[in-house]
Amino acid sequence: MRDNGKPRTLFEKVWNAHTVREQNDDTPAVLYIDLHLVHEVTSPQAFSMLRERSLAVRRPDQTIGTMDHSTPTTPRNKLGIIPVADAMAAKQLDVFSKNCEDFGIPMYALGDEHQGIVHVIGPEKGLTQPGMTIVCGDSHTSTHGAFGALAFGIGTSEVGHVLATQTLLQNKPQTMAVNVEGRLSDGVTAKDIILAIIAKIGIGGGTGYVFEYRGEAIRSLSMEGRMTVCNMSIEGGARAGMVAPDDTTFEYIQGRKHAPSGVDWDAAVARWRDLPTDDGAEFDQEITIRADELTPMITYGTNPGMGMPVTAAVPKPEDETDVNKKIALDKALTYMDLAPGQQLLGKAIDVVFIGSCTNSRISDLRLAADFVKGRKVADKVRMMVVPGSQQVKQQAESEGLDEVFRQAGAEWREAGCSMCIAMNGDQLQPGQYAVSTSNRNFEGRQGKGGRTFLASPLTAAASAIAGVVTDPRTMMSAQ
């Protein structure tokens, strides 16, 4: 699929195939959107705008809704219903239901067997496919790039644009090759790769770029691992991250509800095989990290770029030469109540959260369950396990993972965003420390005054058992 013989990147191929109108000096490009995911929090004002202007949703058949952000994850009542106690959340969910109904958009409501976090259900349903353009009013839309789709988060005005026109005005981003060479060692996961990348480039390092993750370590990841990596592209400032589709991708998609089948499947795979970046194609930027040198990572500060190996010591502001960075580090350590130079290993924690669109898929739950099996969550620790979707929940239950978690003393919840964003009542208390598999450790992100250490499901599970921040590798050898 070379263009006049000029080698192209994966990103360029997808971008070019979706350009309705080229970018020029006066206007950005107009990009066609194949799939639009909507949820209750960032869509109401967009639907209101449609109503004010008497506009229809142009392609409800390319739009899908789910409830996830403000939904409770508390157990169902005797009628099988998940009650919504928060009146504002209940109203937002009602408004969302009505909007989807009025505009003809299929939607998975709270409690539906297909409901879940928007970025978990897209891939799960086979809606996320290579070469597509996918948007959602949510910055972690980058997750879907794991399939070789161009997927990025948009604001509510843009949600309105896509609802009304199925297009978006976009300035063409630059490309950055992110090479992850070598193989991961035991106890080191996809989450550690992405935390290490963000620690290296900083949270603004990818602004204006689309990442393409490449190299042996990425190729050997499962689709779920690739999703974990792409998910946090935005934490490095990049709106999108992509991985070239390969047999691992096709295997994952085949047989899912919205996947092509029969002859369509063969034709689709043939097209998808043309997507990977051509040899000799140029990226605007390139960085490389060595997977074999990586260890389990953890964040110590108040943004995802403040990460380090779990065995390292918290950096000292006095070693920071850049004034603004020094202030930021000082402020972060004050908020986290950590001392410069302190080890995190052995730091007592209050909560462990396994969930979010970063790490709530079945492989994440299996990893954590394997670890806690036959062990007990430390006395003072609350461990919450929140599956990413109802389908993930069912799958986990069919494998008995819910029982493993319960017997270890963890809470097994309904699907949703939960303590990743703390909109639904699942939240930290002021001053509490959490090891969390989610993606953001901003001040108050998991509850006002709460303090977050981001880490992999393995590190989170190990810390839950030990009651303190723990290097999972030390407990794996003892098994």
């Binding site: 107009v30 202007r53 403000s70 809606l127 949510d138 509510t156 297009t167 603004g204 204006g208 901003f442």
Partner: protein, 203 residues
């Protein structure tokens, strides 16, 4: 959207890098279904003490000397994190018309421009100068000329900032981008006729 061609106003600074949208407006305020009233939630967790009501006297926006400031000068990489458009809605609601920083996160910049909140990118020296000016004299005012793409400091120095032509046109004329896209309907139909539909969500 209202037309925006000039801003003349006093400045207030929050010299913190990487101010994320969870700080600009915490997630618990996102359960709304309209845009009204978000101004009082802007920087809520920095602005109020633990009870969520008592103004934190240490926080600059609670200092009466800076009342009425319409230009916010912030640390690097402003607006990172979530895509919530509630962030620019809250800043506008709190009376800001422009934010000055060395750079902005992509989604925040897009969202801001669509609502008539101007992101002004300046070099690090200018940013530091503005921090000092705001510190020394709360009545310091700057002016912004959207057409000329300049921010003029009290000493008369005009600093040029980048602004893409289309956003500029929309700001100056008070039009939003949707009108432009709606007018392309024929081209979109032609695109759809040329290309297969990838997925059918209603199937």
């Amino acid at each position: 959207m209202e037309k925006l061609s000039h801003i003349q106003g006093s400045i207030v600074s929050i010299p913190v890098n990487d101010i994320d949208t969870d700080q600009i407006i915490p997630a618990r305020f996102l359960k709304v279904t309209d845009k009204a009233g978000l101004g009082k939630a802007a920087f809520c967790d920095w602005r109020y003490l633990e009870d969520g009501e008592t103004p934190n006297p240490e926080f600059i926006l609670n200092n009466p000397d800076y009342n009425g400031a319409s230009v916010l000068v912030a640390g690097d990489n402003f607006g990172c994190g979530s895509s919530r458009e509630h962030a620019p809605w809250a800043l506008l609601g709190a009376g800001f018309q422009a934010v000055v920083s060395t750079d902005f996160a992509d989604i925040f910049r897009n969202n801001a421009l669509k609502n008539g909140l101007l992101p002004v990118v300046v070099d690090a020296d200018t940013q530091q100068q503005l921090f000092s000016l705001a510190d020394e004299d709360p009545s310091t005012t700057v002016s912004v000329d959207v057409e000329a793409q300049t921010l003029t400091l009290p000493d008369g120095r005009a600093v040029r900032f980048p602004l893409d032509g289309f956003s500029k046109y929309c700001l100056l004329n008070g039009v939003d981008q949707l009108g432009y896209l709606l007018a392309l309907d024929e081209e979109v139909q032609a695109f759809e006729a040329r290309n297969r539909q990838r997925v059918v969500t209603t199937a």
